[in-house]
């Protein structure tokens, strides 16, 4: 058995709707063994370290192209990691969510490998289009990198959404599955972001917590998926129409977050 990969992760990786070549990689270089390794680690974090509760996973289609769209919750991309773990372990058949990561990651030794071999690619329109063409589940954070920089006090806010993802979803006829992620801000309660330190380390910033380092607390996390949204069109519509669609997606995520906040305050 490959180092660090659990048997459950390996058997789930083998069930992914992906064609592997003789070297055990797919046409994007995603490695079956590497996915199993990463997921094994994420599983330990999601179940043992954090207490991740997932609701409405049935809204994610079992197969075929789709766009999983949600909020960043601050700190760093804990939200993305938990969506990956949920689609892989708490869904049958399992799915591989493929996120669009920041450009700096490709320049970092090892980090680029862990991301790319697990199907997480630089956020380029070409990648998004090709993944949807290959019937993959695309993970999108329309707030962009700014979303991960949210401070503790803004953890449930939604920043301005980009519009490109809706145009692409319309053009590729992909359903948008909205989600809300809660608890990231509590896990890494950021009081400020150290940009100069980040520059020295080759990353955009380093979140500073009351205890200094951005080591997450083992808190309860909630991931809630909403009903898929479909928008008619060709993808070449006016900006006004696209902005209306984006507003609908944002409202849907806002509603999920508000439900989640109510649920958390009732705990």
């Amino acid at each position: 058995m490959p180092f660090l990969a659990s048997s459950e992760a390996l058997s789930r990786a083998a069930r992914l709707d992906v064609s592997w070549n003789e070297a055990g990689v797919d046409p994007f270089g995603v490695s079956r063994e590497h996915v199993a390794r990463l997921m094994t680690i994420l599983d330990v974090f999601s179940r043992r370290y954090f207490d991740l509760e997932v609701h409405g996973i049935k809204h994610v289609p079992d197969r075929g192209r789709c766009m999983i769209v949600g909020n960043h919750s601050g700190g760093f991309a804990l939200d993305g990691a938990m969506v990956l773990a949920s689609l892989f372990f708490r869904k049958d058949p399992p799915r591989l969510a493929q996120g669009m990561v920041e450009k700096f990651l490709n320049k970092l030794p090892f980090a680029n490998l862990w991301a790319n071999r697990a199907g997480q690619f630089t956020g380029l329109p070409e990648h998004a289009e090709r993944l949807l063409d290959e019937e993959r589940a695309l993970l999108v954070f329309p707030e962009g990198a700014k979303g991960t920089e949210k401070l503790f006090k803004n953890r449930y806010d939604l920043l301005e959404f980009g519009t490109g993802f809706v145009r692409l979803a319309i053009a590729k006829k992909a359903p948008i599955v909205p989600f809300g992620f809660l608890g990231g801000g509590e896990a890494v309660p950021t009081i400020r972001n150290a940009y100069t330190l980040g520059k020295l380390l080759g990353v955009p910033y380093v979140p500073v917590t009351p205890w200094g380092l951005p080591i997450p607390l083992p808190v309860h996390l909630d991931l809630l998926f909403g009903e898929p949204l479909f928008f008619e069109g060709t993808g070449n519509e006016d900006d006004e129409y696209i902005r209306e669609c984006v507003a609908k997606v944002k409202a849907s995520i806002r509603k999920i977050l508000d439900d989640g906040i109510a649920r958390r305050s009732g705990r």
Binding site: N21, V25, G29, P109, N112, L113, R117, T122, E126
Partner: protein, 314 residues
Amino acid sequence: MRILVPGISGKLGRVVALRLLAEGHEITGIDRRPWTDAPPGITVFAADIRKRAAEEVFRKFRPQTVVHMATVTHLLARSEDRYRINLGGTRAVLAHCQTYGAEHFVFVGRHTYYGAAPDSPLYHTEDEPPLGLGRFPELADLVAADLYAGTALWRRPEFRTSILRASYTLGETGQGTLGSFLRGARVPTLLGFDPLFQVLHESDFAEAIAATVRARPHGVFNVAARSPMPLSTVIKEAGRTSIPVPEPFIAAALGRFGLPKLPQGALDHIKYPIVIDDRSFRKETGFSPKQGDLSPMHAFRAAHPAHPAVPPPI
């Protein structure tokens, strides 16, 4: 069909020529290097493609198709030689195709045209401009030759033009950029990086040229293997040992400790992937690689073992 292959005597040129001969074509080649044991049906003229003797071959043979493989891709060759041959040679071939009534011109270029960069898309399509020349100036003449040959698409409407950008090839001959890189038993890699490579078996490469000759597609086309794989897999399957070197030390390590020499700019090519999208070539020609994903490396390993077997004592 009468086919002329400038650059026929290179090991890959020979593989292509033999494949075309097997299809029943009449093959003539031009090369400064000899091919002494060329089989019957293949005539090779010793000439420099830019000189008068080469034009005489066009005049006498009147090729219907010209497969231009006379480019220098070896990155350690002197740059003025590369410019002269890659650009001057291509210009001469195009002019002769026009003058002597060729029907089809095939330029065999490289996928390295696209350049390797951290922020470029994983899959490159033919409409992309070349990137990375600033960091890898040694590639400039190959890129220029590709773009120059491409002007034939509109400048020479009298014949059809196929510009091919082929991925790395590997096989029995061991020739080519990747073959040279994998020559030694130990192969340097950058610690923490493992880019994707597309490796086409030499026989599939020859079949791709044969498919181009048959279909005569007009345009620029990527030609690639079935699917990409990590460099570490390529090295392992070729029977070599990869030596991961931290990036700050790699420049000092190259050319020493049994590691091959590489120009500085080439380091990006073992750091970031250049993967090409060949859908349009497959659609136009019906080409599909016949060999398995790992067979190029296995063929290379069988023909060029890292540690040649010691003959038993008599």
